[in-house]
Amino acid sequence: MANVLVFAETRGGELRKVALEAVTAARKLAELSGGGSVHAVLAGSAGIGDKAGTLAEYGADSVLLLEHAGFAQYNPEALAATLAEKLRSGTYAFAVFSGTAQGRDLSPRVAAKLGTGLIPDATGFVLDGGALIATHPNNNGKVIATLGLTAPVAVISVRPAAMQPAVAARPLVTEAMTSATDPSASRVKITAIRTGGAGKLDLGDAPVIVAGGRGLKAAENFKLCDDLADAFGNAAVGATRAVTDEGWRPHSDQIGQTGRNVSPNLYIAVGISGAIQHLAGMRTSKTIVAINKDKDAPIFKVADYGIVGDVFEIMPALTAAVKAAKAQG
């Protein structure tokens, strides 16, 4: 029986879906160890406690509230100090984080403060005696490593979307926590946060890329790509060399051997045939969708999902469907 501390990630004062996934993972760890408690840390400015109920609904036995104006934004120095202090209390055998940019920034700091090992970005885990055994992608995902960690407090971050949040309602118990250090005294200061929106995200940073090729026929038809990117909200628009050569899009938008090399989670190729020069720059994208009227286009060889058809018909429908899916949450 072991207690689990889980960090619930927020953005802009809202819980992220990954926070629920992390709580579900923590719940699972607690069960595997014979039924310990899950304590979720929720940090934010005053009022963040309103979100605690959701964490309880997904299985947090208690929600530790870290309310302070200094936590309005992600504050790794104060958070790491506070979490490490809490974990040193001897109450916990595990600490769970999300394998997001934030979680993978915070968890190593906490692990280092504790002098304990960390398994990052776990896609699954079990317990084996006292050891935490977890799988984790290696070599750009081409190899799966199973790692074993034996430590008084084992720290783990869980890969987003690796597990679905599962409701496991508990009565809401909250407890106030104080920061171990002055949250406003952190050495690194956040001066601004810019969130996505099509055209604002750099191709290298965007988790989703909508790329257009010569099949779009004219510069003005890139509106179809822009619209789809807007529907995603976290997408950037790219183009092939043929398109940038034609001057339909600026050269900085070019994806491929002579342009940008990208590897987003989702790559949507619109009217792109898939010349070697283009494939060389996007082949490693995690999921590839191709829409092209030519069924023999090489792009279908690398695509996970393809629609052979008229981009001018399919794109508006896809944009509407993505909007609808996003609206549902």
Partner: protein
Amino acid sequence: MKIAVCIKRVPVMEVKFVITADGTRVDEAGLKYDVNDFDLWAVEAALQLKEKAGAGEITVISLGTDAAQEQIRKTMAMGADRGVLLKSESPIADGLAVARALAAELKDGGYDLILFGRIAIDSMNQMTGPMVAELLDLPCVTNVCKLEIAGGRGTAERALDGAIEEVEFPLPAVLTIDDGLNKERLPSLKGIMAAKKKPLDIKPAQLGTVQVAVRKMELPAERAAGRILGDSAAAVPELVRLLQTEAKVL
């Protein structure tokens, strides 16, 4: 400005990996190696900072086997001034052990900046930078995709999942460098010749207790062959469903 850059020797990824018979390691036969891409960008960032400042010294540190000397030499061919190899016998899966050994080497170096690549593409641990920062009690900024240093302070942009965070930080600091900050230079032949004469210290890595160990290595299931979902907009609902449930990207 004194800058340290920590780099890692990693296999070239455009291959089909093979797992050894005992199932715990990637077979090294036929693999080619290079400096981890993110680390190359860190080296490039250091070179650009030094060039801009007009003076400084760049030390490249790597923890690995003897073979990693080749990668240290490459960064010296790019323009780094000296190298340190913290020698270990085999790959270390425990990021904290690596961080401890690096921190021990970095501690008294008097560096204004300590740079890492955001992630090593082999272990994909993405933890050594912030761990070293904690061990040395230095401010740390991860995922840096834009960087400026002036007057003992730095400003940077961090690439988060779909958002950009702008930060300010004092020196000395630990930074991890992300894609998009720069494109690394290729060493010139002149640089390669010069690198042969630059100092490279080799010392044992002080790893301490290793808590994380590889239990197993395996290859993931083959990527399923692509599927054609249809020939018109009628296929869109199915596509969206698969993106949500199977690919989990929506």
